[in-house]
């Protein structure tokens, strides 16, 4: 498919979401906002998993750090409740990046399952800090935020806040898209496919991976800032292992290496978990069923459905696509 028609579809979908979301009920807006925040987190992970081939199980750590920074600044210093919100966004993004810069030094040396384990351990460290460092994080009680920022426009209004998150989401998508299309992004894909070859070609693969790791951390931190204000409450439960696993599953569900896949995955997971669970008691089976079916029959994720349909229509072979990376992990 041409990248132009692809972009048109994506823009169309985004416009549709932006127009439809405010017309759902008050709870629907909240859910879509949450899905968008998680979509930013999932896309940040996709940069690692889908484009660089690094399966991180600690992405929730950056979300947590961003969220706790926002909450602590807001409650202890009343900072970030006016125009300074934008400064908090910058700070949250930077602290995500800074943490990733430290964690990256430890994690990047490993690959595959070992990378998975190290990121998991680092993620748990951050969780432990949130849970145990009572004087700063409030421990298990978490932190209640005093309210959303107000600077001329009131973010306390859910629709307004939705549009703010929506803009951040679109901006993140655009930035990450530009990034993966750039020569840097291409070399990341090269590393994913065959790191040794890239090294022989003279690329500093460690540095490439390290930078990708930091960028992913930055977007994770951004998601954290948005997350704190979306919920009005930050808790160690926000950065438990489950959140990291969720992010990973969102990417796999939507299709790794596609960016939009992570966003779609986030939408599906939030819909099934938070909305279906209010309707039926068997939502967990639905969620589990979707995971299993996608992994069994759509290893390329939901984004590969069009290709699958085409294949089924023509009865022919799959057009040459990238191999199904997930198997390599």
């Amino acid at each position: 498919m041409s990248s132009r028609s692809k972009s048109i579809v994506v823009i169309g979908v985004l416009l549709a979401v932006g127009l439809i979301a405010p017309h759902t009920n008050a709870f629907g807006v909240l859910l879509i906002t949450r899905a968008m925040v998680l979509a930013v987190l999932a896309m940040s992970l996709d940069l690692l998993l889908g484009f660089t081939g690094l399966p991180s199980l600690g992405q929730a750590a950056y979300l947590g750090i961003g969220a706790y920074l926002t909450a602590i600044l807001a409650t202890k210093y009343s900072f970030g409740l006016g125009w300074s919100f934008w400064l908090v966004v910058v700070l949250g993004t930077s602290i995500g990046a800074a943490t990733a810069a430290i964690f990256g030094l430890l994690a990047i040396r490993a690959t595959g399952v070992y990378f998975l384990m190290i990121t998991l351990a680092l993620g748990q460290c951050v969780w432990g800090l949130a849970y145990r460092w009572n004087s700063v994080t409030g421990g298990d009680n978490g932190i209640n935020l005093p309210g959303r920022p107000e600077f001329g426009i009131r973010l306390a209004d859910d629709v307004t806040y939705f549009y703010v998150v929506f803009c951040f989401f679109v901006a993140s998508l655009a930035m990450l898209y530009v990034l993966v299309q750039s020569p840097f992004g291409r070399s990341l894909e090269g590393i994913r496919e065959r790191e040794v070859r890239m090294r022989i070609l003279g690329y500093n693969t460690w540095l490439h991976k390290y930078i990708a790791f930091i960028i992913a951390g930055a977007f994770g931190g951004l998601a954290g800032v948005l997350w704190a204000h979306a919920n009005g409450h930050v808790s160690p439960e926000d950065l438990v292992l489950t959140t990291s696993v969720d992010a990973l599953l969102m990417v796999v569900l939507g299709g790794s290496g596609t960016l939009m896949g992570g966003a779609i995955g986030a939408g599906v997971v939030v819909f099934l978990r938070e909305y279906l669970s209010t309707l039926v008691p068997w939502w967990q089976y639905a969620l589990g069923g979707v995971y299993i079916l996608v992994i069994l029959y759509l290893p390329g994720g939901l984004m590969s459905i069009p290709v699958r349909i085409r294949q089924w229509r023509t009865g022919g072979r799959l057009p040459m696509r990238k191999p199904l990376r997930w198997r390599r992990i």
Binding site: G12, A16, D140, N141, S235, D238, R310
Partner: protein
């Protein structure tokens, strides 16, 4: 690939979001004679048992009055929070925004109470923490949460008298081992305060994380020269800890918070817990005609003995009913409802319950001992929490002056400081 296929993806996506948009349209305004209760309880996860007991309790009362609260038809909407604060927050938002509930009832963990209370203030909706015992909801933060009325208890309420009781038993040196979260700190804190004031010493505090099931790393560190062990376990922890403690050869007396011996865990427990003593505002073995009738009816309906989680929600429903009687089934508005509920006095299953001026119950605290015996005419020997002493009309401030008590910080991992820790 042609350009056809992505368009199809786009259509599907839009379709998905449309489903999102269209389905939640069943929002309805409340009918005049309808009382919509949003109930938050864990239906999945480690606290699912607790959640079932909570729902059973409330539903049993509603069933007994045939869903008719003095003319108001009760509409009960249950949401599963998995005992996780962020989920509880989201579910409360759903109940308030989409279902337009009059009351939000429930939550389990102390941390959930702290997370849900600000929503009640923000949305001006009554929140009744029937289970979350977080002290500050009705103490230092009570002014911040004008729409919170507690029908359950505060964490340190039973452990204040329990500390004195421990002194009376002649215990001098006690090791505390408790779940590492607000409820644990506050329960231990209350116990430590009164126990040390009458001459006892807490010589060690151990904090295993909430939901720990392997106590192997903690049990061997318990000081051997202690007179007794104070435990505070919640949910599945309460089943594992006594077993592992007994397996480690413990001979010391074990005392603890009431949730360590909830009635729904007793049937799965063995001889290892016999003789353990705990304190709470309810015991299923409470020997009053009212409780006997409650236990029998509950057991006939749900096939198990009610725990305090059942009783507290049964009583919550009863108290809501009392308010509705005064308004003749009309919803009086959140502010008025809070006022009325705060002045309700009921003769509850657990004993007389009234609320103090910070909207926390004043009620009996029972010291109870796990015994194997027959009760209420059941022909099998079972484990029961036999009441061995009653402290009547205990307030959350115990014998202290309210102002003095509130001027100290909330009980935490570091308060009261562990002066005698070795």
């Amino acid at each position: 690939m042609t350009s056809k296929s992505p368009r199809r993806t786009g259509l599907m996506l839009t379709g998905g979001f449309l489903a999102f948009a269209v389905s939640p349209t069943m929002t309805t305004g409340a009918a005049a004679q309808e009382l919509i209760v949003g109930f938050i309880a864990p239906m999945t996860g480690p606290f699912a048992q607790v959640g079932k007991d909570m729902v059973n309790g409330f539903e049993m009362y509603a069933g007994q009055v045939k869903g008719d609260f003095a003319g108001a038809k009760i509409k009960f909407i249950l949401e599963d929070d998995q005992a996780r604060p962020p989920t509880a927050v989201l579910k409360a938002e759903k109940l308030i925004r989409q279902d337009k509930v009059h009351l939000v009832v429930g939550g389990v963990l102390a941390s959930e109470g702290y997370a849900l209370a600000p929503i009640s203030t923000r949305e001006k909706v009554v929140y009744i923490p029937s289970v979350p015992a977080s002290d500050d909801l009705t103490q230092r933060d009570a002014a911040k949460y004008p729409y919170v009325v507690r029908t359950g208890w505060s964490s340190s309420q039973p452990t204040h008298p329990f500390g004195e009781w421990a002194c009376e038993q002649g215990y001098k040196r006690i090791v505390a081992i408790a779940a590492d979260y607000a409820f644990g700190y506050e329960s231990v804190g209350g116990f430590q305060k009164t126990f040390e004031e009458c001459g006892g010493k807490i010589i060690q505090k151990i904090w295993p994380p909430l939901n720990a099931i392997d106590f192997g790393p903690y049990i061997p560190t318990i000081k051997q020269d202690a007179d007794a062990i104070f435990t505070l376990m919640v949910g599945p922890m309460s089943l594992q800890f006594p077993k592992q403690l007994a397996a480690a050869g413990n001979k010391k007396p074990v005392i603890g918070g009431g949730t360590s011996y909830d009635e729904f865990t007793l049937p799965s427990m063995g001889a290892e817990v016999i003789g353990h003593v705990s304190a709470l505002q309810y015991s299923a073995a409470l020997d009053t005609p009212k409780n006997a009738a409650f236990v029998k009816a509950y057991r006939a309906k749900y096939g198990k003995v009610p725990s305090y989680f059942s009783e507290t929600n049964y009583t919550t429903a009863q108290m809501i009913h009392e308010v509705m009687k005064q308004t003749r089934g009309k919803w009086p508005g959140a502010d008025e409802f809070v006022k009325l509920l705060a002045s309700v006095k009921v003769d509850a299953v657990r004993g007389p319950v009234s609320l103090d001026d910070m909207r926390n119950p004043v009620q009996n605290i029972y010291i109870k001992k796990v015994e194997k015996k027959k009760m209420f005419g059941y022909d099998k020997e079972e484990l029961w929490n036999t009441v061995i002493k009653t402290y009547p009309n205990v307030s959350q401030f115990w014998k202290y002056d309210k102002e003095t008590f509130l001027s100290q910080p909330v009980y935490s991992r570091d308060f009261p400081p562990c002066k005698f820790c070795e």
